[in-house]
Symmetry: C2
Subunit: 442 residues, 2 copies
């Protein structure tokens, strides 16, 4: 990786501070460049202090450092996710955006052996297949985890030996987080009562699962190519005679792949039960068999074809003109959007879903659904993007995309409400008047 730019996820905690030190030594030898990135979750009192610590340390060490603040609590509430999940999503989103902006090559995170063991155990308890047993991958696309082969204890010893400063994240000890209970309760209990070498055992299982999954995946993707007769939005057609000849292990992997692509969600959301039901169709004789799965997915075996489709909810396009100040009811969201204008220094972000630079907007404004060809420049990104691609990148499920409200002028999209504002409308240092948008139920 000589000449590459590596973005380092730097929380300021012991693990990432150790990784920074390790990478710096390597960077000189190999000749790559480190860029630190810190997302301030704004969740704890010390959050701002930690952001400052990271910035100061990087300045002293001559490492470029990017810090961004997000209100994770608000985002989690909006997306109905846990703080952990929303935090992780926003961190990776920030790193990915930065990577694009800086034309960087990789993102390094400081996950170590104990993290790996905790993840594997978490997946096992929650329910998983071979893929989930891999836990955390040492290399996964643009992500690298250089510390995955060392333990937390080894990292602590390294920090002490080198005299490297770090912050302690108190929330790591709060037992409300499932991960913390696995770390501080379950693993110590299993180590003491059952196997002192538990972490090692789980990491070895992860390694075996990783290499064995790799060959299974390779084979399965060959079969997928062979079995795929048609793929279009909301519809996948597979070859029944070919699938029938495959070992159930491959049938399952191909069915999972198909359901994942149709639903647009995560693999973990697919149950073994439904996979087995679909596989069961293959053996059924008779001209036509139909299966209705959750999320409006229909599986139809018709002669030689297995047709997996999703009923597309017909959402009528909508468009409502906005009055400022004023409020408007959007039936597609079953909610009111409330618009007002305020001075930047009087801005209160409470309950606000978006705020824009009032003086940079053109009027009239509309709340409307997306239209083919819509283009948008997400804040923080340099270029423009098709709204369709933005939805895909944001992993917005297909069936929601036509309902999501955009805020737009005649020929410009200023915001995807609740998700992102456009660069052209974003508040900046020059902003004086702010358009504030709130949302409330009926």
């Amino acid at each position: 990786m000589p000449g590459e730019k590596v973005i380092l996820a730097l929380s300021g905690g012991p693990d990432s501070m150790a990784l920074l030190s390790v990478l710096r030594e390597l960077a000189d030898k190999i000749g790559f460049m480190i860029i630190a990135a810190h997302l301030n979750h704004g969740l704890r009192e010390e959050a701002d202090e930690e952001a400052r610590f990271v910035e100061d340390y990087c300045r002293l060490q001559g490492i470029p450092c990017y810090v961004k603040k997000e209100d994770i609590k608000e985002i989690a509430a909006r997306r109905k996710k846990s703080l952990e999940e929303a935090g992780r999503e926003e961190r990776y989103r920030f790193f990915r955006e930065l990577k694009k902006e800086l034309s960087a090559h990789r993102i390094a995170t400081a996950h170590h052996k104990d993290d790996l063991a905790e993840t594997v155990l978490h997946h096992i308890i929650r329910g998983t297949g071979i893929k989930g047993l891999r836990g955390i991958m040492p290399v996964n696309g643009d992500l690298i985890r250089p510390l995955l082969a060392v333990t937390r204890r080894e990292i602590e010893a390294y920090l002490e030996q080198k005299g490297i400063p770090y912050c302690i994240d108190q929330s790591n000890y709060e037992p409300v987080y499932l991960r913390n209970r696995i770390r501080h309760e379950l693993i110590p209990y299993l180590r003491e009562e059952f196997n002192p070498r538990l972490v090692e055992a789980l990491c070895q299982l992860a390694y075996i699962a990783r290499i064995e999954n790799e060959v299974l995946e390779e084979e399965a993707s060959k079969y997928w190519q062979e079995a795929l007769r048609l793929k279009e939005e909301g519809k996948i057609v597979l070859d029944v005679p070919l699938l029938s000849r495959l070992h159930p292990a491959y049938q399952h992997r191909i069915i999972i792949q198909a359901l994942k692509e149709i639903r647009g969600g995560e693999e973990g959301d697919i149950s073994l039960k439904e996979v087995m039901e679909v596989a069961g169709l293959l053996g059924k004789t008779g001209s036509s068999r139909v299966l209705h799965l959750s999320g409006g997915v229909k599986v139809n075996k018709a002669y030689q074809e297995l047709i997996i489709s999703r009923k597309r909810e017909e959402v009528e396009p909508y468009c409502y003109q906005v009055e400022i100040p004023g409020e408007i009811y959007v039936p597609e969201q079953d909610a009111f959007y409330v618009f007002s204008v305020t001075d930047i220094d009087k801005l209160d972000k409470n309950g606000v879903i978006a705020y824009l630079d009032y003086e940079r907007l053109r009027f009239p404004l509309f709340i409307r659904s997306r239209r083919p060809g819509d283009i948008f420049r997400p804040r923080g990104l340099k270029g423009s993007k098709k709204v369709k691609d933005f939805f895909i990148d944001e992993k917005i499920p297909l069936h929601e995309r036509d309902k999501i409200p955009l805020l737009a002028a005649e020929d410009k999209i200023y915001a995807i409400l609740g998700i992102r504002v456009a660069e052209e409308a974003a508040v900046n240092n020059a902003t004086q008047k702010v358009l504030v948008i709130k949302k409330r139920g009926k």
Copy 2:
């Protein structure tokens, strides 16, 4: 399976009593025959009572029932195994012998979903690969587990509904057994604190591991055939260029196979570390590389060959004549063997490693090592067997076979001391005088 004979492992506990009832219903419909088998471990006070319960119940129901008593405590001590392990080994040995004797086709055990989940969890904690995640197989050679898809609770409900009697094994509640701690402490804790559907999650993982392991195993065994250049006692030669081209997942499985065959032990005894070391040899250049593994196994990469061999300990053949009564020191065992004759009604089995029907023996007797062509008729078996094959069936590691002492007359083997006596010398109803053999250290 119409016309087949199925041996049912009948402990008398709830699970096996339920299985008996289920199988009886099926037996009439499908037309197979049930034979009950009960091994009395002699471990608890109630053991004899339970054996009688099983016999009485079977008699009433018209089911043939075979009961055998073994001193598991003594066997466990002799083999340096846990009571659990020794008990399991002896049970399966008894079932297998009975199967042979009665020309039966299958052995049915009453393992259920909770047993499966406990086994999977036990393997995970102890350390395992994909194979170990399978836990208990629904069908494994001649073994069948018809209840593997139902839970303990479902079995209890079935027993109550049908009014079927059963015994309760108190030792199932003793927390000294690891299995019981997993059952009564760990699983309830994980269910309450982490996932109420834990058993389901573990059983699904076992299922996925089972089908995915199957395809991996199929592929690996093809590659094994291709890569195997030579296989003889204590030596396996594999093709290096072929192995090098394989995915690490297959390299590992082939190396495990080779080490298993060379060591003659269980797969679980092979560590990932040594497998990776052997795989590491493949990539090493240079003419010759040697690796010394535990158990005297040597792995040698020489040009195009990977030679896995086990240094055969040269044990000189030995033969000592026995005086009766009297004692003899056997240096190969570093132990004395003490011989005496007693009346059958004065027989005290304490500390005895073998006892034979004195009047059926021919003299003089010898303690000696095995010789090529030795033949032996193990007690309980109908036919004769080569001693070599007996050792293989008993999974006696290769390097121990030349040391094990046989008790023999000029042309007859009466016992493999500490392991089995011959049918011709075994004590039976007609026996009056007993040759008692004890063993003691120097």
